[in-house]
């Protein structure tokens, strides 16, 4: 009797999670398999005629893996890193201020909402907004000119540095609120006793931050790093809209996913599939790398602490 009951419960559990697996299977898994399959085929449309699919082995992989691949990979990383570094620094700073019991910042809730707001705007709309704001005849240039700060309009999007900084600025604005809130949650998870003990021992705020807060929120920091890295690898909408899909000037803001998008627009399913597989492998390797690195640190940490003690 008892036994049957437990079995039937398990059955209902499986039935309840079934919808997820079914949708995942149909909408994610099958396309995934198909993508991999078509990466071995010559399969594209020329005008309204469809060419292929003809099996070509690894031809697509060879044609995609040229010097261009590494250039676009480098672009993607540069765009990500110059957005991520200020993002994590500012987020850490804000998070530790907001939760600091001694600072007692008023309107904390209000600020939390405000810094999160940019994330609510669609990235493409945000990029469109920046495109207009920073165009040579846009409001930013008018303000600068009227204030007498510059002689002629600055061509923000005419130089690689300018375009990259704009992309980074947008990514920073969109994501620092999100990161701040996550880090706040992490810091609030630290027992207040530890901070109290530290202050009784005479720690100054800086020491508290570096020796107590930072080490204790490491798991969340890792999580932020990994998600941001994967997100960064898939960076697309902001540079796409800002540079009209060309990554100009000289393709310096051309990311891997913009390339994928251009291949798919042709549409060249074969080469796009091959590129997707490469991206899959790259993000897989990155994940393992970061994960391993962090875990190793975690294992070392106790021993170091022991030694010091």
């Amino acid at each position: 009797m008892k036994k049957t009951k437990s079995i039937s419960r398990a059955k209902w559990g499986y039935i309840c999670i079934l919808p997820f697996f079914v949708t995942y299977f149909i909408f994610s898994f099958l396309p995934l398999v198909d993508t991999i399959r078509y990466s071995f085929y010559e399969y594209y449309r020329s005008g309204i005629r469809t060419i292929g699919p003809n099996f070509v082995g690894f031809d697509n992989y060879i044609s995609v893996m040229g010097p261009d691949f590494f250039t676009y990979l480098k672009n993607t990383f540069i765009l990500w890193i110059i957005g991520f570094v200020p993002q994590i620094v500012i987020a850490l700073l804000l998070a530790s201020w907001f939760v600091d019991a001694r600072l007692k910042i008023r309107g904390e809730q209000f600020f939390k909402v405000v810094i999160y707001l940019p994330n609510l705007i669609m990235a493409s709309a945000f990029a469109m907004l920046f495109f207009t704001l920073f165009s040579t005849s846009g409001p930013v240039n008018s303000i600068l000119t009227n204030l007498g700060l510059v002689n002629g309009p600055i061509d923000f999007m005419g130089t690689p540095t300018g375009t990259r900084l704009l992309v980074a600025l947008m990514n920073f604005l969109m994501w620092f609120g999100n990161t701040t809130i996550m880090l706040m949650a992490a810091i609030m998870g630290i027992s207040q006793d530890v901070f109290e003990a530290a202050s009784i021992d005479g720690c100054n705020p800086r020491q508290t931050f570096f020796h107590i807060t930072l080490p204790l929120i490491r798991p969340i920091l890792t999580y932020t790093l990994i998600t941001s890295l994967i997100g960064g690898l898939q960076m697309f909408d902001v540079p796409q809209i800002l540079t009209n899909g060309q990554g100009n000037p000289n393709r310096t803001s051309y990311t891997l996913i913009m390339w994928l998008n251009n291949l798919l627009r042709a549409p060249d399913y074969g080469r796009a599939g091959a590129l997707s597989v490469y991206l899959f492998v790259v993000s897989g390797i990155l994940c393992i790398f970061v994960y391993k690195m962090v875990n190793r640190d975690d294992e070392k940490k106790p021993s170091r602490r022991l030694k010091r003690n």
Partner: protein, 464 residues
């Protein structure tokens, strides 16, 4: 077992058609069976694909069955109970073609009321859709239109462009698009002391003269053109051979394109073109047509004056004038096609005849929208009509200049790849003009971009 699971998965994915790569790779081959038009009764929904509301306004103006259009402009109701559903996607970046192509691929399996009945194409890619092998656009004779008789008054080059390689006409247009030089009268008066079209024409009858006139404009603080892209069509539409020869997979860059690159660089470096405006169809470009701008003129066809310049001009009417530019060329032109598989053949025929073949209707479009319409006799009449004058041009009759320009147009060098080539060569060499890259890098960037856009392209040949 594993194998079976995988093959089952693949089979499922094919059936479900849920993957990005699903869909049946059938071009509209309905024509092969002899039936271009669905049998049975005339449907109630006419689906028209286009890229802006230009065609809709023309249809509203001249098609006698139009009752009214919904507020948002997506549905036009006809007096006989049928509805025209407009599907509009932007032309830039190939978006319109992508959407149209996807819909065409599903044309065979779509329900009668969801099938495309008509679609528009632009000169840059009309060849792709009139292709005999693709067999997407219905030959006009199949619709009951006799090009020899019904379209006799059209300009010949518009008929050639809308025909496939075998000379079967598969589309029709209501406009011809000769380009003229449109300039600001106040700037002309300030710089040259005259705004008379003939005298201005003398100053810009060829590129060298135009350049020296540009120096005078520069001395007064004006730019001759807004952007390097403004002169592109003058060079790019007078190439001697198509970008891609029929049956070839290699792009041939015409010497004229290199001329454009060299001249544009020279003009830009000399300060005759505003370097802050990067290409057409941008916000900056639109602003360069406002009263605040320092730009002297544009090379525009009739639709450009009505559809681009007029809405962007914020000053009083009559500030602009037209004259012949340094070179006669054609820019744009929207072709109307009946789509294979339509269940509204009668409506398609009526709309096509009403908008592109009826002289009275065309003259009305010309008077309402300043369009240069596709009627040789009508355009000749209006060119010689002393009483006709466009308010926007200060009472000047632009057709005096458009009409001769149109008769000198030849268009034999089209290929299905034109839109990509035109867009990408401009964006690739934009970096070169702005001094970001050298000439060879710009060439390499163009080759990269064009091979992404058209996977079948194997090589790009540059002139010596």
């Amino acid at each position: 077992m594993k194998k079976r699971v995988v093959s089952l998965a693949l089979a499922l994915s094919m059936v479900a058609g849920l993957t990005a790569c699903g869909g049946n790779p059938e071009g509209g081959n309905a024509g092969a069976n002899g039936g271009y038009v669905a049998e049975g009764e005339e449907g109630k929904v006419i689906n028209i694909y286009c890229w802006n509301d230009e065609f809709r306004t023309r249809v509203e103006a001249v098609y006698d069955k139009v009752d009214h259009t919904s507020e948002d402009g997506t549905i036009t109701y006809l007096t006989d109970g049928a509805e025209i559903h407009w599907t509009i996607n932007p032309n830039q970046d190939g978006v319109y073609q992508k959407k149209l192509d996807e819909a065409l691929l599903n044309q065979g399996s779509a329900a009668a009321d969801d099938k495309i009945d008509m679609f528009l194409s632009e000169t840059d890619y009309v060849v792709k859709y009139t292709d005999a092998e693709a067999d997407i656009a219905i030959p006009l004779t199949e619709l009951g239109i006799d090009p020899e008789k019904d379209l006799a008054d059209q300009y010949d080059f518009t008929k050639t462009v809308a025909s496939d390689a075998n000379g079967v006409q598969r589309g029709s247009t209501w406009q011809a698009c000769p380009c003229l030089f449109v300039y600001r009268r106040d700037i002309a008066l300030d710089t040259f002391g005259t705004d008379d079209p003939d005298e201005i024409h003398a100053l810009c009858s060829d590129w060298d003269k135009m350049k020296s006139a540009g120096e005078e404009l520069k001395a007064k603080g004006y730019y001759t053109f807004a952007t390097y892209a403004d002169t592109f069509r003058a060079y790019g539409n007078s190439i001697s051979a198509p970008w891609v020869e029929e049956g070839s997979t290699e792009i041939n860059v015409d010497p004229q394109i290199i001329n454009w690159i060299n001249d544009s660089k020279e003009w830009l470096d000399a300060g005759l073109i505003d370097s802050n405006i990067k290409g057409q169809w941008t916000d900056d470009w639109n602003k360069s047509m406002s009263s605040e701008s320092k730009v002297f003129g544009f090379l525009l066809p009739a639709w450009g004056i009505d559809f681009v310049l007029n809405p962007n001009w914020d000053g009083e009417a009559g500030a602009w004038a037209v004259t012949d530019g340094p070179q006669a060329f054609n820019w744009g032109g929207s072709f109307v096609h009946g789509c294979v598989g339509t269940d509204n053949a009668e409506h398609v025929k009526e709309i096509m005849l009403a908008v592109t073949a009826d002289k009275e209707n065309l003259m009305q479009i010309t008077k309402d929208y300043l369009d240069f319409t596709n009627t040789q006799s009508g355009m000749e009449e209006i060119a010689n009509d002393e009483s006709f004058g466009a308010e926007f041009l200060g009472g000047e009759n632009p057709f005096k200049y458009f009409q001769p320009a149109a008769s000198s147009i030849q268009m034999t060098t089209l290929s299905p790849y034109d839109q990509g080539c035109v867009e990408l060569i401009q964006s690739s060499f934009g970096d070169y003009f702005q001094g970001q890259v050298d000439f060879d890098t710009a060439k390499a960037n163009f080759e990269r971009a064009i091979k992404e856009r058209y996977p079948e392209i194997t090589a790009v040949n540059w002139p010596e």
